[in-house]
Subunit: 224 residues, 2 copies
């Protein structure tokens, strides 16, 4: 379903270049649940952003459902992204001036459901991540873990085919984190493809495959 | 050194009140290293913000070094805060338009050291948290864990008497997280008072006392 070949990402910082990803190749099959681990700064978010079509590689090729997409324009990429990919950001990236409910509804509005239906779906997902009673709060009126859960609900509300989650339990207590992982496990059973970046060894057992990044290179994949 | 009595915090949200803290009392001695744990939304950040003089309680009294301070004005609170407290925020709160180095230097500038000395101290602390080579990056040019480490360096650069850390290892891999905890352990040996909020059971062994929050109440303290 996804194949990236020889992907490199270089951030140019004036005189210095940062080689965030070095010649990374990876194949992801439909319905796989993969965990990506590695040290802070090893390139995990960079890799996820490229896979999620939020960023372009400096070089290399990207095939999405067998079609070459690294050469598409921004609108074409956005269309694929909005229809097929749900992205949970490491730093949440919520709209600060809007409520949790509106933040979660927004992707639905674009997919054309009625306002009443949009609201129902959003409320149900907020309830599923344990945020009933917090729908009207703006992000700065929510705890860190609550903001993280709004970000999770927002990524799932459009029922995406592929879920990319960047440290989705980093601000959650163990119980809460496990509840989120149960949601991912259920979505996986429904056939979704999931890439999960985490530092938390305890949640790797939910996935079938672990990929390690070190200094921008994939150094090991373990099949479980 | 710090004593809070019957502290309550109510967030007013139009028709609904959120009782974030309910009648919390706590004594903290000079040189203690305390871990605060609890579910997402239990009131940990709210408690830390009040202890760190970043927020005012709705009711209750706060004694800091035996002096009543919950009735001081903003300038007086800011003076105590800048001199005595180093705060590591759960969501980093870095200045986005400035480099990591400048973000770390800023508290030093206020304390009146020479530009040359400020820079030396900031660079040395950035090195200590493993960020050599990333000093010139702005926050959005840093990984999540790197931003977190800039926030840590910034809190420590003024050599504060009290360190309040809100989930300081949430975005760090295990190795990196342990390196940060070693820094805290060293500071504790030097006589600093440390309050650390965390979800990570593995780092509680660094402290001598654990306080649990549940629905805004302190329900248990374990001495280790
Ligand atoms: N916009 C940018 N400009 C320059 N360098 C960048 C930029 N974004 C990231 N980097 C650098 O690229 C490297 C990889 O970053 P990335 O965010 O992918 O790491 P990560 O594995 O997600 O780390 P963490 O676990 O800390 O979140 C880091 O060393 C970072 O400093
Ligand atoms: N400004 C605010 N206005 C209204 N409610 C708020 C505000 N800030 C926090 N809250 C609510 O108060 C409760 C406690 O928040 P707090 O940030 O202290 O939780 P926490 O224990 O730090 O959680 P986490 O582990 O998720 O970071 C939460 O349920 C939150 O929704
Ligand atoms: Mg990252
Ligand atoms: Mg918090």
């Amino acid at each position: 379903i996804i194949e990236i070949k020889n992907i490199s990402k270089i951030y140019k910082m004036g005189k210095v270049d940062i080689d965030a990803l070095k010649n990374v190749s990876l194949q992801i099959k439909m319905g796989e649940f993969i965990t990506i681990m590695g040290h802070s700064g090893s390139g995990k978010s960079t890799l996820l952003n490229i896979i999620g079509l939020l960023d372009r590689p400096t070089s290399g090729t990207y095939y999405f459902e067998d079609a070459r997409i690294d050469n598409l324009n921004e609108d074409e990429l956005a269309t694929i992204r909005n229809k097929k990919i749900g992205f949970i950001f490491q730093t949440f990236n919520l709209l600060p001036q809007y409520s949790a409910l509106f933040n979660v509804e927004l992707p639905l509005v674009y997919s054309g459901c009625s306002p009443k239906r949009c609201r129902e779906i959003a409320l149900s997902l907020l309830k599923e991540v344990g945020l009933s009673g917090r729908e009207r709060h703006k992000p700065n009126e929510l705890s860190g873990g609550e903001q993280q859960r709004v970000a999770i609900a927002r990524a799932l509300v459009n029922d995406p085919m592929i879920i990319l989650a960047d440290e989705p339990t980093g601000n959650l207590d163990t119980k809460c984190g496990n509840e989120i992982m149960e949601i991912f496990a259920l979505l996986h059973q429904e056939g979704k493809t999931i890439l999960l970046v985490t530092h938390n060894e305890h949640i790797t057992s939910f996935s079938q495959r672990i990929i390690y990044l070190q200094d921008g290179k994939i150094i090991e994949g373990k099949n479980l």
